[in-house]
């Protein structure tokens, strides 16, 4: 601090320099630690579950909530899910589902759906 003041810096300028240094250093340390502790597998630990108790009718359609969870350390650019419902197959693409986070998607279907009638599985993904 004294050195900076000698170089023509006033206290406020030194304070913002130190605060900025603290933010940058803190981030660098955090990122270094995150790198050392990550498992970094090439497979995606992603789970899809149908919230059957929350299926609702809306007009002529049924709305099916599906929870997608990425439990892994990596964020896929794209993940493709296969939805099997009442004997028919559909696919949906989800982009950038962040590491260790979840997302809700809502599927609409024309017929009434019960728990065992619907199955959602991860088909493919891209990092």
């Amino acid at each position: 601090m004294i050195r900076f003041e000698l170089l023509g810096r006033k206290s406020a300028e030194v304070a913002s320099f130190l605060l900025s240094s603290g933010i940058i250093l803190g981030l660098l340390i955090y990122l270094g630690m995150a790198y050392n502790t990550q498992e970094s597998p090439d497979f995606l630990d992603m789970k899809a579950s149908v919230l059957t108790e929350k299926i609702r009718r809306s007009g002529a359609h049924y709305i099916i909530p599906i929870k997608l969870e990425n439990k892994g350390e990596k964020t896929p650019v794209r993940a493709r899910f296969r939805i099997e419902v009442s004997g028919a197959n559909y696919t949906i693409d989800v982009e950038y589902l962040s590491r260790k986070s979840s997302k809700m998607i809502y599927w609409t279907h024309e017929q009434e759906v019960r728990g065992p009638d619907i199955k959602v599985t991860l088909e493919s993904y891209q990092f």
Partner: protein, 294 residues
């Protein structure tokens, strides 16, 4: 007054606000690019580490020639180090604040995910902060103001007419600036994406921030020498000029949303107001930046 600033607080606040203005003008279009959010969020920690380190090095390097602070003297390493580090710190805080305002920091997400978004955006914004002295040269602004006063004195027009001319040119500059900054953002999906996720409270906060940003760019940063020819001119008072700039910019934003906007909304639709406020941010920054040029 200058002697009272023993700790340099007043000068430092002014320098940081200059940096905020520089960062906003340079980085606002990037903040509205979803590829930057998503890629930043997907980057692994080692990549983010190197992006942050590279940004720091670039900021220090460019600060050697340009710099953030008004009294910065180029060609000295300690000035470059000081300004470069502060520019990156300011860029990080600014990116964090704006991403929060536009609802792009999901706190349910893993910490690393939104840190990635902030670092990706801040690496660009901080360069805008670093180049503040190149973009807004105080001497050039003073010379321009002096020249317009000299031209006015030679023109033999009455002060009232000169003032009207000045007000109209300010209005024109705000319109052109707002149009320039928001025209290429208006047709993008991001505007609708952000707008549809903002609550009424979020929209209110964004609107208040737009007014504050306009005030920072126009007045608080001290980047512009304001020329007035008549006493107590209504349009040249800080509050009125800020409100006028924001209003003009929001009008431009509303017109662009209804003509070339991504979503098919029209006035009266709740999404219309929300999208106009969201597009209002680049429009307001552009409108205020336009007035700096006049």
């Amino acid at each position: 007054m200058k002697n009272m600033d023993h700790y340099g607080i007043r000068q430092e606040i002014r320098d940081l606000l200059r940096g905020v203005a520089g960062g906003l003008i340079f980085g606002t279009p990037i903040l509205y690019t979803m590829e930057v959010w998503f890629e930043g969020q997907a980057f692994p920690p080692q990549k983010l580490f190197f992006i942050l380190l590279a940004s720091l090095s670039l900021n220090i390097f460019f600060s050697y020639f340009a710099g953030l602070r008004e009294k910065h003297s180029s060609g000295r390493f300690f000035y470059a180090l000081d300004d470069g580090v502060t520019s990156l710190g300011l860029g990080l805080v600014l990116a964090l604040f704006i991403l929060f305002l536009i609802g792009q920091l999901d706190f349910e997400q893993h910490f690393l995910g939104w840190i990635g978004r902030v670092i990706a955006e801040a690496s660009i914004m901080s360069l805008g902060v670093t180049f503040t002295n190149f973009k807004f040269n105080k001497k050039q602004s003073s010379t321009r103001a002096l020249r317009s006063i000299r031209d006015a004195a030679a023109s033999l027009l009455s002060p009232e007419r000169l003032q009207t001319r000045q007000d109209l040119s300010d209005l024109f500059a705000a319109t052109v600036g707002a149009l320039l900054f928001s025209f290429n953002v208006a047709p993008t999906e991001e505007i609708t994406m952000i707008a549809s996720n903002l609550s009424s409270l979020d929209q209110g906060l964004l609107l208040i921030s737009e007014v504050i940003f306009a005030f920072i760019v126009l007045y608080a940063s001290g980047l512009k020498e304001h020329v007035t020819f008549t006493k107590d001119n209504f349009f040249q008072s800080p509050l009125n000029e800020t409100v006028l700039t924001v209003s003009v910019s929001l009008c431009i934003s509303a017109v662009l949303i209804s003509t070339i906007g991504y979503s098919d909304t029209s006035p009266g639709d709740p999404l219309f107001l929300s999208t106009a406020i969201v597009l209002g941010l680049p429009a307001v920054i552009g409108g205020a930046a336009g007035r700096l040029v006049v």
